[in-house]
């Protein structure tokens, strides 16, 4: 499954016109201990680059942006009870939401794993 990354430190794993979105390991390390996550419920329309979820660490609240536009099919309910999954498994069990892409061409501007690695090293 192709994996893409944004400059706002979200990842998106794509399969056909479906995808899973989360935040990167770099992002969770920067945030520190995650204590609250709010994910969008199924049916929410999200727009590329706009706020789609909220993640709060002990010290601050941050927005999570939708890497692409689409309709949410599932929010990760496990994060409500165990928000620390974002720290322990950011690119696995700590995923935020799944969606149906409305325009797969929006993926074109995103980075691949190698590009993201270089981007983070440049920060």
């Amino acid at each position: 499954m192709p994996l893409y990354f944004t400059k706002d430190h979200e990842w998106i794993s794509v399969e056909g016109d479906s995808a899973t979105v989360g935040i990167t390991d770099y992002a969770q390390a920067q945030l520190g201990d995650v204590v609250f996550v709010e994910v969008p419920p199924a049916g929410t329309a999200v727009d590329k680059g706009k706020e789609a979820a909220v993640v709060e660490s002990v010290k601050a609240a941050s927005d999570v942006y939708a890497p692409v536009s689409g309709t949410v099919t599932e929010g990760n309910g496990a994060l409500e009870a165990d928000p620390a999954l974002v720290n322990t498994s950011p690119e696995g069990e700590g995923w935020f939401f799944k969606l149906t892409l409305s325009d797969t061409s929006e993926l074109d501007g995103l980075m691949d794993a190698e590009g993201y690695k270089a981007f983070v090293e440049g920060l």
């Binding site: 201990d33 909220v54 709060e56 660490s57 010290k59």
Partner: protein, 365 residues
């Protein structure tokens, strides 16, 4: 000629390299690069509540005041009973403006020989020094001890760890202080802190602080703790943070710091803003600082609006209680147990007014 924008770089503390060696993430705070966290705020917070945490607070201003008429001169600027402050005793006090607003909160201690040692906030120290220079008479000498570092060792096992290095500190009680010798290095040690736990604050020459930090962290009880946990610990302890919960628009009564007005000073007055402050003390202020237990898991933060009047001034997640807590200024009629609604980023939160501290103080009295 074009105007150049000058970026003033942050100053480095004497322990800067030591923090980095210990894996600290450094942030800009009060004009210094400071450690926000090492292994993580929650782990550091809980370690301090259970064992002992070492905090570098060398950004704070350490001042020494001496001279003829010092006590009277200081009493004109703050509401503490300075005259009654005996050697080795400490007081929490407030630098007050003429309108009764709080310019800073600080600690006073009496050194041997009558000198006063004062610790003020890092972000306000330059303003404080200016204020003191302006209002203290010429006979008073103000020495900014910027060659001194300051560390805090906090937690139930702090006394065990420190007494191993500096025998005798165990005899100090809460809010007392003394001069100690640690293998040839003079240490001014007070039994005080900003976490609600038993612990010590240690003033040490800047060129000896790394040796002290190394020796303390060799003790099995001690780990270095960053500013992030310092903030969550003081919030649980109900202790206000200047620039957030206290500011020049806030009076000691609104801030629920009436205990900082010594009995004799309440009776005699004669401190800045005394008329207003003493009136608020008997008649009550319109607003007051309270604790809030916030429903749900999501924290409310500084700046969130209390519906019906008021604002959140500090808020976050309590690692000890595993729930969001906050401090807010609300109408004085809000008593413990009453519920309030708070608006943050378009969302409504419910909170219950709670007595503070949220986590009981464990001072060694």
């Amino acid at each position: 000629m074009s105007e150049e924008i000058q970026i003033i770089p942050d100053s480095l503390l004497p322990l800067d390299a030591w923090h980095r060696e210990h894996g600290a993430r450094m942030v800009s705070f009060a004009g210094y690069e400071m450690p926000i966290q090492y292994e993580g705020i929650i782990a550091e917070h809980l370690w301090t509540r259970q064992h002992a945490g070492l905090f570098d607070v060398s950004h704070m201003g350490q001042l020494k005041l001496s001279g003829e008429g010092l006590d009277v001169a200081l009493e004109a600027l703050l509401p503490a009973d300075v005259k009654g402050l005996g050697e080795g005793r400490m007081r929490y006090s407030l630098l007050l403006a003429e309108n009764g607003g709080i310019l800073d909160d600080l600690m006073l201690a009496r050194l041997p020989g009558g000198t006063i040692y004062m610790v003020v906030n890092g972000a306000t120290k330059w303003d404080d020094i200016g204020h003191l220079h302006e209002y203290l008479p010429e006979e008073i000498t103000l020495n900014h001890m910027d060659e001194q570092a300051l560390v805090a060792l906090q937690g139930p096992e702090a006394v065990t760890a420190l007494a191993r290095l500096v025998p005798g500190v165990e005899a100090l009680t809460f809010m007392t202080a003394g001069l100690f010798d640690w293998s040839g290095t003079p240490l001014w040690i007070s039994r005080s802190g900003y976490t609600g736990e038993d612990g010590f604050e240690i003033s040490v020459p800047g060129d000896e602080v790394e040796r002290l930090a190394v020796a303390l962290c060799e003790q099995p009880e001690v780990k270095p703790i960053g500013l992030g946990a310092r903030d969550s610990l003081r919030l649980e302890a109900g202790l206000p943070l200047y620039g957030h919960d206290l500011d020049p628009e806030t009076t000691p009564i609104e801030a629920d710091l009436g205990f900082a007005l010594s009995k004799r000073r309440r009776e005699e007055g004669g401190f800045p803003g005394a008329e207003r402050i003493l009136r608020e003390r008997t008649e009550g202020a319109l607003f007051k600082r309270v604790g809030l237990l916030v429903e749900g898991r999501q924290p409310v933060r500084e700046g969130a609006v209390v519906i019906g009047g008021g604002r959140v001034t500090s808020g976050g997640f309590s690692p000890s209680l595993e729930r969001p807590i906050a401090m807010a200024f609300v109408p004085a009629a809000a008593i413990p147990g009453s519920t309030l609604q708070i608006e943050q980023r378009g969302k409504i939160f419910t909170a219950t007014v709670s007595p503070m501290p949220f986590v009981p103080h464990c001072y060694h009295r």
